[in-house]
Point group: C2
Chain length 240, copies 2
C-alpha cells in the first residue's frame, strides 16, 4: 500500500483544529492540487472563495447552522459553480442549463477532493460544510457572488485537535453493482446496520445507538432544503 492510498483510506472528517496556521506554501500546494483535477470539456467552471475575514467567517459559521469550526479552521474555502467567469468572456453565452449545474457540482467536488487529499497527505485534516446550503442567499450576499455563481459547500482545513475513528461505510456489495443495478441485499444491510450501531455506541459511550437505516430514515422523513430549487433559479441556474 502506497502513501497516497494510506492517506485516502485514513480519511475522517476533522471538526476540531489547533490554532496553528497553514503556511502560504502549504496553501498554494493545496490549491495547485485542486486546480490539477479533471474538468468537463475544459470548462473550468469552479471558483474558490478563500475566506480570511474573521467577521465573514463568524457569519458563515452561523449560516451553516452554528458550526464553530468554520471560524476556527486555519483555512476556509467556499467552492462555487461559476459560469459568471464565462459570461465575462462571452456575454451571450448559453448558460442556465440543468446539465451545467451537474457539471458545476461534479467539477467543484473533484477539485475540492484533491484539496482535501493534498491537505491530509500533509498531516492536516478537514471537513466539508454542506450546511452553507442552509442559507445560500445569505452566503451569496456575503461573498458578493454574482448571477451564475452558486456556493456549493465549504471546506475547513487545519491541524487536527482530535483523532476520531474512521466511520464505517456501506459495504462494497451494497454500493458496487456489476453490469446492472441490483436490488439491495437486506441481510447485508442488517449486518451493516449493526456495524453502524456499534460505531455510534463506542463513540458516545453507549448514549447513541442508531443504525444507518434508522439514521437515513430520520433524515429522509424531512424535506431536503426545499428552497434550493428556487435559489438555483434565482441565480440563473438549472432553469433550462
Amino acid at each position: 500500500m502506497n502513501a497516497a492510498i494510506e492517506t485516502l483510506l485514513a480519511h475522517r472528517s476533522i471538526r476540531q483544529f489547533e490554532s496553528t496556521p497553514i503556511s502560504d506554501e502549504q496553501r498554494c500546494t493545496i490549491i495547485d492540487c485542486a486546480r490539477a483535477a479533471s474538468t468537463s470539456s475544459f470548462i473550468q467552471c469552479t471558483s474558490i472563495i478563500r475566506v480570511v475575514d474573521k467577521e465573514k467567517r463568524r457569519l458563515l459559521a452561523e449560516y451553516a447552522g452554528n458550526q464553530a469550526y468554520v471560524m476556527e479552521a486555519a483555512e476556509f474555502f467556499v467552492f462555487c459553480a461559476d459560469y459568471h467567469r464565462h459570461l465575462q468572456i462571452k456575454p451571450d453565452a448559453k448558460v442556465g442549463f440543468a446539465e451545467q449545474m451537474l457539471i458545476g457540482a461534479v467539477d467543484a467536488a473533484l477539485m475540492a477532493q484533491n484539496a482535501l487529499v493534498a491537505a491530509e497527505s500533509m498531516g492536516l485534516g478537514g471537513v466539508y460544510i454542506g450546511g452553507l446550503r442552509n442559507n445560500p442567499d445569505k452566503v451569496s450576499d456575503l461573498l458578493k457572488l454574482p448571477e451564475q455563481v452558486v456556493p456549493l459547500f465549504g471546506l475547513c482545513l487545519g491541524y487536527p485537535a482530535q483523532d476520531p475513528e474512521v466511520k464505517p461505510r456501506l459495504p462494497v456489495d451494497l454500493m458496487v453493482h456489476e453490469d446492472k443495478y441490483q436490488p439491495m441485499d437486506k441481510t447485508r444491510l442488517a449486518e451493516y446496520d449493526d456495524v453502524v450501531r456499534e460505531y455510534y455506541s463506542t463513540r458516545t459511550g453507549g448514549n447513541r445507538t442508531m443504525s444507518w437505516s434508522e439514521q437515513i430514515s430520520a433524515t429522509l422523513d424531512k424535506e431536503s432544503r426545499p428552497f434550493m430549487r428556487d435559489f438555483l433559479h434565482s441565480k440563473g441556474f438549472a432553469v433550462k
Copy 2:
C-alpha cells in the same frame, strides 16, 4: 513534496490503454478508497456500476459519442446518484429535491476522485466520461437503473499507453477569490489564453491554436444538453 501530492499534480487524462488488466486486489483497493470519501450527512447516495460485459461496454462507448476507450479501458465504472437505495429502506422517503441532486453529484464526484487518485498512485491512468450524459436514458435502460438513480459520469481506468502533457489550468488568481467574488483580470486572462494556445500548438504540431476563451466561447455558443432537465425529472430527480 510528498508522494500523494506528486500524484495529484501529475494528473492528465489518459485515453489510450494497454490491454493489461487491473488486478482484483488493485480494483478492491481503488473501490475502498472511493468508499472512504466524505458523504453529506452520512447519506451515502452513490452507486457504482462496474461494467464488465463487452457488449454493454461497446454500447456505452457509442452512447458517449464513440469514445473507444470506454471499451478499451481495463475497468469502466459508472457513478450514479442513488436514492433508490434509501427508498428500499423507507418507501415514503422524501426524495426528488434539487438539493438532493446537488448532494448526489458532489458525493459521487468525491468518491470518483478518490478512485482516480488511488489508481494514479498505482501507475494507472484514467479519464472521466461525461459523454454518458449525451444519452442518459439509453445508459439508464442498459444498466437497468430504477427511479431515483441518475448516471452522472463514467470513469475509465487502465495502464496508460500514452504519456500526454499536463494541461495548463486557469491561473490561481483567476480561480481563487479572497473574501468576496472578484471580476476577472482581463490581462491575466489574455496571458492564460496564450499559454493554452501554445499548449494546443505544441500538442498538434501547430495545427490547432485555440485559446481558452475561444474554446469556451465555442462551447457556450451551443445549448448544453437541454434534455437533461427533463431526464432528471423523468427519474424523479430535482423536481422539488
